[in-house]
Symmetry: C2
Subunit: 349 residues, 2 copies
C-alpha cells in the first residue's frame, strides 16, 4: 500500500455502517505508550528518537494485524501529504507540524494508526464507524498485546502506564466519540448539553480535536481523566453519557419534524440546492452545508441520496485532498473553484 492509495479508498470509519450512525459519526480509542529507558519524545535526542522509530517499525512486522501496514516517516512527506493525513484523522496537527524523526503506521482500511514520536513514543488509535467503542476497545487491546512482547512499555505499578503529560498517566487511554448534533444546535439546547457533559469529566472538541471549533454541528466528546480508573469504567461512563446525548438529539429532531417541519426541510433543501449549483465555495461553507444535507439524509428528507456520498464529500473537499486529486498545489481561490466542481460532479449524477 502507498500513501496515494488512501485517496481512492474509503476509510472504514466513514462507512457509517456502525450503530447509531445517523447521529454518531465515529468512535475512537487511543492509547499512549512509551518505551522504557528512552527519554520522552520532547526530551529525546536524535539517536533516541531513531531508536524508537526502529523498534516500533520492526515490532509492526511481527503483528498479525498490522503486518503490511503503510509505514511512513513524516520528514519524507510533502506538506500536502502531511495535511492529507491530518484531514483523514490519521495524525494530529502537531505531528504534521514538526516532522523530524516522527513516523506513522496506517493499517488496512485506516482502522488503526500509530503515531511514533508524537507527545508519547507511541499513540495508537482505532477508529470505528458509528457508536462502537467496544469494538474499538477490543481491537486496540489486540494490537497492544501483539506489540507488547516486542516493545517494553514504561509502566509503574503505582501509576500505571507512564506518559509525557500527567493527564494521560494510568490507562493512557482516551475514548472519544464524534457526534453530529444539528437539531440540538437549531433548537439552542446545545449549550446546556455541553455544560452537563463538562460536569461529568468529559471534554468537547471540534472536528479536528483540541482547539478546533465545532464546525458543521460536529462535536467530539472524550474522557478527560485516564488515571485511577479502570479502562472499562472510563468507557462505561462515556457510553452512558453519549447514549443520553443521542436521545436528546433524537428528541430534538422529532420535535422539529412534528412542529417545525418546514424550517428543517427549508434548511436541508436550500443546502442541497446550493451545493448542486455552486461554482465557488470555501471549506467552512462546505462543511456547514454538508451538515444540513446529512441531517436531511438522516431524517429521510433527502430520500434518493445515500450517506456515503455526503461522507465522501466531507473528506474529499478538504484542502489537501483537493490538491492531491488535482495532483498539484492550488491557491485558496483555485481550491474554492475546484471544490465546487467536485461537489457538483458528485451530486449531479
Amino acid at each position: 500500500m502507498k500513501l496515494n492509495d488512501l485517496l481512492n479508498q474509503e476509510s472504514e470509519w466513514l462507512k457509517e455502517t456502525g450503530p447509531n450512525s445517523d447521529i454518531v459519526i465515529s468512535s475512537r480509542i487511543r492509547l499512549a505508550r512509551n518505551l522504557e529507558r528512552l527519554s520522552f519524545s520532547h526530551w529525546a535526542d536524535e539517536k533516541e528518537q531513531q531508536e524508537v522509530l526502529n523498534q516500533v517499525e520492526s515490532a509492526i512486522n511481527t503483528s498479525n494485524y498490522l503486518k503490511g501496514s503503510l509505514i511512513l516517516r513524516m520528514r519524507d512527506l510533502s506538506n500536502i501529504d502531511k495535511q492529507f493525513l491530518v484531514e483523514r484523522h490519521l495524525i494530529s496537527r502537531e505531528h504534521a507540524a514538526e516532522p523530524d524523526h516522527k513516523g506513522v503506521v496506517i493499517s488496512d482500511r485506516e482502522i488503526v494508526s500509530i503515531m511514533i514520536n508524537e507527545e508519547d513514543h507511541l499513540r495508537f488509535q482505532v477508529l470505528q464507524s458509528g457508536f462502537n467503542l467496544q469494538e474499538a476497545k477490543s481491537l486496540i487491546d489486540r494490537i497492544e498485546s501483539e506489540l507488547e512482547p516486542h516493545l517494553n512499555f514504561a509502566f509503574s505499578s503505582n501509576w500505571g502506564y507512564l506518559t509525557a503529560c500527567p493527564t494521560n498517566v494510568g490507562t493512557g487511554m482516551r475514548a472519544s466519540v464524534m457526534l453530529h448534533l444539528p437539531a440540538l444546535v437549531m433548537t439552542s439546547q446545545i449549550t446546556k448539553v455541553l455544560q452537563a457533559i463538562a460536569k461529568l469529566s468529559l471534554t468537547t472538541r471540534g472536528l479536528f480535536g483540541e482547539g478546533t471549533e465545532a464546525r458543521g454541528n460536529f462535536f467530539q466528546i472524550s474522557n478527560q481523566i485516564s488515571l485511577g480508573r479502570l479502562e472499562v469504567e472510563l468507557i462505561d461512563n462515556i457510553e452512558r453519557v453519549i447514549r443520553q446525548v443521542i436521545e436528546y438529539e433524537q428528541n430534538a429532531r422529532n420535535n422539529l419534524l412534528t412542529h417545525n417541519r418546514e424550517l428543517i426541510e427549508d434548511r436541508v433543501w436550500r443546502a442541497y440546492g446550493i451545493l448542486k449549483g455552486v461554482r465557488i465555495i470555501s471549506s467552512n461553507e462546505t462543511i456547514d452545508l454538508l451538515s444540513s444535507m446529512r441531517l436531511g439524509v438522516d431524517m429521510g428528507i433527502l430520500k434518493d441520496i445515500g450517506r456515503g456520498i455526503v461522507n465522501e464529500l466531507f473528506i474529499l473537499t478538504q484542502p489537501a485532498h483537493l490538491q492531491k486529486i488535482e495532483g498539484k498545489a492550488l491557491t485558496a481561490d483555485k481550491r474554492d473553484v475546484k471544490r465546487a466542481e467536485l461537489i457538483r460532479k458528485r451530486l449531479n449524477i
Copy 2:
C-alpha cells in the same frame, strides 16, 4: 373582464418581447390631466369627485381603444385587491391607501390604466415591454385624443396642462424606464451611474416608484421636469441616457463573463438551487434571488429556463397575489411557506 381575471393573465409589459428586454423590463409613459372647472382632487368635495368619476367613466365608453375596459371604484375593493393592483403596477400605493371616490380603468392586457381622482383627476399610464417609449408615447397620444373631445382638460396657453403639483405642469408627462442592472451593482459602478443620471434632470426610484428601495437590482429612471420642454425633447433626453446605461450594463456583464465567469455563475446557480429547494422564503429574498436567476437567463447561463417563468414568479410571489391565488388572507408566516410552494412548483417541472 373582472378583476380576478387579471390573476390568470400575463400583463403585456411582462412579456419581455420588447427591445433590449435583457436589461430593460418595461417603458412607461403617464400623463396627468385635470378637468376644467372642478377643484383638484385634494381640494374637491365629494360631489366634485363624483362628477369627475362620472365624466371619465362615460368618456371611456366612447373610446375605441378603451371600450370594454375594466372600470373599478376603489372603495368597492378589498385591501387585498387594492394591494394586488399596486403589485401589478396598475395603481399607486397612494391610490390604494385612500380609496374614497377614487377609481381605476384597466384596458385589455393591462397596457393602459387610468387612475381617477389620484393627485390629478386623471393619471393615464401606458406600460410597454422592453425599451419602447416611442410606442408607449403613440398609444398614450391616441388614448388622449380619443378622450379629449369628451373631457375638457384644464389647459393654460402660458403653462400648458395644469396639474395639482407644479412639477407636473406643462406636458404633464412622465416617461420612465425600469432597468435591471445587476452587473453594475456587482461591479460597484452603480453609484457613479446614478449620480450621472441625477445631473441630467432624471430621477431614480425602486421597483414601486417614489420612496421604494432598489430591491433586486431594479432601477426606475424617469424625467424630473415636465414644464417648458416639448414631450419629444423629454423622451429624446431620457432615451439617450437609457441607451448609455444599457451599454454600461452590457459592458459590465461582458467583463464579468470574461474575467470572473465563476463569480457570476456561482451567483446564478446558487440562486436557482435555493429557489428550487426552498420551503420558507420572504418577498425580499425572493426578489433578490429571482434577480440573480434573471441575470442567468439573460446571460445564457440558465439555458433551459425562459424569461417568462422568472417574470411570472416576480409577480405571483407578491403578498396580495399569493393571497388571491389561495383565495384567502394569509399571515406573513403562512405567505412565506405558500410562496416557497409556488416557486418550487413552477421551477421543478
